[in-house]
């Protein structure tokens, strides 16, 4: 599914954050990346969908090298969802609009169909009552669940989670963890960055430790 070879990333100030990283994830696998702050975990995750451009190396996604100039990175990102620590919901759009914007504008799904799909996902993940609310009217846990649903609505084959529970209190962490655990049934490939050992134990099929820009 995702095959990373000899990935390096050095920022303009000379700070090398990824040092010859090699990494493979199979279909439906759930890999958790742990490590101290500043180890390069988030940068690595952002490199996987080119939100950060690597300095060198190859990233194969479904057999395609996404670092080639011929690769349409927008299409790749549509198949590889991402969930952020700070939720990043579109603040001017309702929850329903947040979820349907991508499918309607990018996948060209008719509005009616996208709306129905969003209703089903919201119902499935227990926040159907928030359909017409705006992000600032939701708790952190609810916002994060919406962010996951927004990624899911694009029918991705893989989802990257960048510390999805770090900004939440314990109760909200449990809500989000439950949502991610439910995702395991859908065969979506997941790469998760987290510091939570209990969550890691519950969800991970493989755990990788990262330190100083390298996998141990």
């Amino acid at each position: 599914m995702i095959d990373v070879q000899h990935l390096n990333k050095t920022f303009e100030n000379g700070n090398k954050v990824l040092d010859d990283v090699n990494f493979k994830v199979a279909q439906a696998e759930c890999v958790v990346i742990c490590g101290p702050s500043g180890a390069g975990k988030s940068t690595f995750l952002k490199c996987l969908n080119l939100l950060e451009k690597p300095t060198s190396g190859t990233i194969l996604f479904d057999g395609q090298n996404i670092l080639e100039s011929t690769c349409n990175i927008c299409k790749v990102r549509q198949k590889m969802g991402m969930v952020f620590q700070q939720f990043c919901l579109f603040s001017n759009l309702s929850i329903l609009e947040n979820i349907t914007l991508g499918p309607i504008k990018l996948l060209h799904i008719p509005k009616k169909e996208a709306t129905n799909q969003a209703f089903e996902l919201l119902k499935k993940y227990g926040i159907a009552d928030k359909t017409y609310n705006y992000p600032h009217q939701l708790s952190g846990g609810q916002q994060q669940r919406v962010a996951i649903i927004r990624a899911l609505a694009m029918s991705p084959v893989a989802i990257l989670f960048d510390e999805p529970t770090s900004a939440l209190d314990h109760q909200m962490q449990l809500e989000v963890q439950e949502t991610i655990l439910n995702l395991k049934e859908t065969n979506v490939t997941m790469v998760i960055i987290t510091h939570d050992p209990v969550f890691t134990e519950n969800v991970a099929t493989r755990v990788i430790q990262m330190e100083c820009g390298r996998f141990l």
């Binding site: 939100l51 990102r77 919901l89 579109f90 504008k105 990018l106 709306t115 600032h136 694009m154």
Partner: protein, 244 residues
């Protein structure tokens, strides 16, 4: 014997003020359309450059344009346009509309640009992560939020534009101020014509302010705490959609 106010209201001067009033409204309306369109275009170019470092040449052109407009008086711009750049153009109305449209567009673009800067960068990142292209992110995600942020400043700009058009008389166009000036020189009385014109400007500004406040309230209500009302409206909208 008629008072001066009655003279103005009952004589041909009444029509002169009406003509000037119409002229002012036409110039302001047309200039606003140009300034909004061009201002959004300039802001979009600069936002593109800010987020993707693309359109470097256009961005450079936009920066120079905005700096020149902001760095020179609008009266001088009007004179340059009327007697140098657009000297071949016979219509002073068009000269005025183009000048005020261009002038205001520079300010509108800066207002929108500051609105864009006020949108958190994670909104851009989230759009990119979903698979949107730069243009889509700016048009669908960043711009609507920037527009909402900029609404009070835009109202201020259009209010300023209304008052700036008062100088258009210097190129021979009869706006409401110029009409008052003509009446003053004919009646040898400045008080009544200028008071009437002042009241008209105040009335137009007040109506415009009221409309913009209503728009702001509408947006605030849409995103505010009145969820039940929103839900009811939205549910009905979605039901209609699903029944289509």
């Amino acid at each position: 014997m008629h008072t001066r106010a009655e003279n103005i209201m009952k004589s041909k001067y009444y029509f002169l003020i009406l003509k000037g009033f119409a002229g002012t409204l036409e110039i302001v309306a047309c200039s606003m359309i140009i300034s909004l369109f061009l201002g959004m275009l300039i802001a979009a170019v600069r936002a593109h450059y800010q987020f993707s470092s693309k359109l470097r040449f256009l961005n450079c052109f936009a920066v120079i344009f905005v700096n020149i407009i902001r760095g020179t008086p609008v009266m001088l711009q009007l004179l340059i346009m009327a007697y140098i750049v657009l000297v071949q153009l016979k219509s002073v109305f068009l000269v005025a509309v183009i000048t005020f449209g261009l002038n205001s567009s520079a300010y509108v673009s800066e207002i929108l640009r500051s609105g864009i800067k006020g949108v958190p960068t994670n909104q851009y990142t989230a759009g990119a992560a979903l698979g949107f292209k730069n243009t889509q992110i700016i048009n669908l995600i960043i711009f609507p939020q920037a527009l909402r942020n900029s609404l009070p400043s835009l109202l201020n700009e259009f209010s300023a534009l209304l008052k700036e058009t008062a100088i258009v008389g210097i190129i021979g166009f009869t706006d409401i101020t110029h009409a008052a000036s003509i009446i003053r020189s004919t009646l040898f009385s400045p008080i009544m014509p200028f008071l009437i014109v002042g009241a008209i400007y105040f009335a137009i500004s007040s109506v415009a302010s009221y409309c913009f406040e209503k728009i702001e309230q509408l947006i605030a209500t849409r995103e505010g705490s009145n969820c039940k009302k929103i839900s009811a409206i939205s549910e009905k909208r979605e039901e209609d959609l699903l029944n289509d």
